[in-house]
Amino acid sequence: MFLNQAVSAGPQFFSLVPLIVFFPLAGLLINLIFGGRMSEKAIGAVASTASGLAFVVAVLQAVSLASQPEGTTVPLVDWITIGELNLRWAFLVDTLSVTMMLVVSGVGTLIHIYSIGYMHEDVRHQGDPGRFRRFFVYLNLFIAMMMILVSGDNYLMLFVGWEGVGLCSYLLIGFWYDKGKDGIGNALAAKKAFIVNRVGDFGFLLAAFSIFWAFGSFQFNEVFADVPAAEAAMPGIVLAITLFLLIGVTGKSAQIPLYVWLPDAMAGPTPVSALIHAATMVTAGVYLITRSAPLYVTVPEAQNIVALVGGVTALFAATIAVAQFDIKKVLAYSTISQLGFMVAAVGMGAYAAGMFHLITHAFFKALLFLSAGSVIQGMEVGEHHVSHDPRLKKQLKLVGGQHIDPQDMRNMGGLRTRMKTTFWVYLIGALALAGIFPLSGFWSKDEILAEALHLQPAVYWMLVIAAFFTAFYMGRQIFLVFFGEPRTLPAEHAVENPPVMTIPLIILAVLSVAGGVLNLPGIHSLSDWLANTIRISEEAVSLAGGHAVLVGEFNPTIAVTATILALAAISLAYLIYYRRYQEQLKLPAARRPDDPLRAFAGPVFSVLENKYWIDEVYAALFVKPYNALAGFLADAVDWRFWHDWFHDTVIAGGFRLLSRLLALRIDLGVIDAVSAGIARFLQWAAGGLRQIQTGFVRNYALSVFLGVVIIIGYLILR
């Protein structure tokens, strides 16, 4: 069952690769079955160990690949065998999948450890201890599903993982299912995520069916080997497949037009946002395009479309992020924007650059989200202190606030001195995201920009402007949250979080700083590492005119320009949000704007703050008519027509008519008549026959005599 190609010299651990799924599964099962009797520490330990062991297995795979870079396939079981379809669950161990495995399990384990502290605080404040176990069960399930996604050796196994992470996303977004706006807000956000993802999955399924139709198989190696032949047999099919895959990617990786679920997904706990919606799940789309590179390089039109979608999304989301007040929403739109960078990169054919940015983004975005969680936690602790201290409570009442939103940046300020560790790690993350030398984001983003200028200039300009806005909104966020004076009492009394939460942050910060070494220009270790998998024949590329760049170039001009732009943006943010904001705070409350930019460009700011009203447009265009249709079908068609009219009137009424017919006409009329008729007939006959009993003896004698005559006559004639 386990294939072991012991060809090279180095240690081989390929046969262990199924454990990468089964360790998290074991963890979740243990927590599910025995969690009721385990302490919080134990549950957290089990879950984190499961994730950690998966990381260890991933590392072992990387070690094995070092001596055998082409990778191998480890089949596990046969899944579907019908006709010419022969699907199996096999683990594809090559550099690309192992890269993803390392990122997912590594970042995932850190987040598991962070969550122990985070959920402990959550249960302490909100009650319901069962939540603790449920959270870790879902987290482990997510890790398992993501591993299935990245390790599958055919499109359908990938889809199994794809759907699985979608499910975990739903479960975890709606984790606090009874909270949120009107008590169902979180559940609605989870539903929105699931449904929007479903639209994307529809595209993926169309692609899968087309793949089977064109290639007769789902397996990567079989599909990729046959691309020119299939294209010759069915012209245009590869273009169709790539575009359908793009639909799936826009759903899962939150690109235009299916990004609307990601900001709402911030309703879930912060570790969920960090793991799923920043570091791992949303990158599944990028992984898919990278994996399908042999398909994409033969259709340059599709490549252009993908790059454009990525570029437009990057710019679009960055502009929205400028005007958001919720700390997590800013990061959400930032994620969408950065995913746009990645999608643009792989769309253009710069696969290594895209994957590089994926890795660095995982580091600093997870760091940012977890730190944001730390900030929110600090604010909530501060509010707890305030509401339990009678003196402070009076003060709160005087100020006029009762319960403030701990996630609104307008209520923060001055947290630099109160949450020192969080401030420093957040700063590192923000600078990495902005792309400041020598942090990791600088190297990855500049590689993308360099490729873009070379391959798709239009996309390059979009990405550059987006990079400017990125630095601007991160600066805005830093200054609003950490600098200045605290604007509310809870902010004043915010407290730093325990080490179980801060230590993973520090580790991620280190990775954000040092991550650049993965693919330094000139050395480009990651590009070489990935080149073992993303092998694209030169002739295929030149035939179709597509692009495939594996080894990125380093353009010093672009690097310098980008850095200057970022520093300029941060300085602008300083001027507006530090200097001017402090001045504005001195104004009386009525004339004080909540954001200095509103004074500059009020209408534009409103448009950005309302996210271009896209959600409202979608609601009017799709959700309302759909709900109307559903309501119509449910009420008019199903209830009133089918149930009321058809069932009640036609069927039930008809049945009653029939039963009345049977009861009255047939049962009473015929059957009773027959039985009564028989009785009456017998009565009549008896009455008639009674006449024989005349009572006269002579009659009886006559009848005897008659009988004698008849019998004698019979005997004679016989």
Partner: protein, 100 residues
């Protein structure tokens, strides 16, 4: 010689006349006497056959018939007397309480 069949015919005629008497008359005593006539007709047949087949069994049977007829007459007439005491008539048509 007289053929036996003539005696049998005569017996049949006498029997029929007796039957007619039973069926037609309303006087109980006359009915009884008609019954005796029928019995006598049967006796005649027995004796004729005994003569024809030279079997004394016929005579024996006639003997028994006579004995039983005597007993029957005794009882029957006692009955008629008893009924007469009750109903004061010997019309059999009056004895019709079995009328259904």
């Amino acid at each position: 010689m007289v053929p036996v069949s003539y005696y049998i015919i005569l017996s049949a005629i006498l029997f029929t006349i007796g039957a007619l008497g039973v069926l037609t008359r309303r006087n109980a005593i006359v009915i009884f006497m008609s019954i005796e006539l029928m019995l006598n007709a049967a006796n005649l047949a027995f004796v004729a056959f005994a003569r024809s087949f030279q079997n004394i069994g016929g005579h024996i049977f006639v003997f028994f018939v006579m004995a039983v007829a005597a007993a029957e007459v005794a009882v029957g007439l006692a009955l008629i007397v008893a009924i007469f005491h009750k109903k004061n008539t010997i019309d059999v048509d009056e004895i019709s309480t079995l009328k259904g």
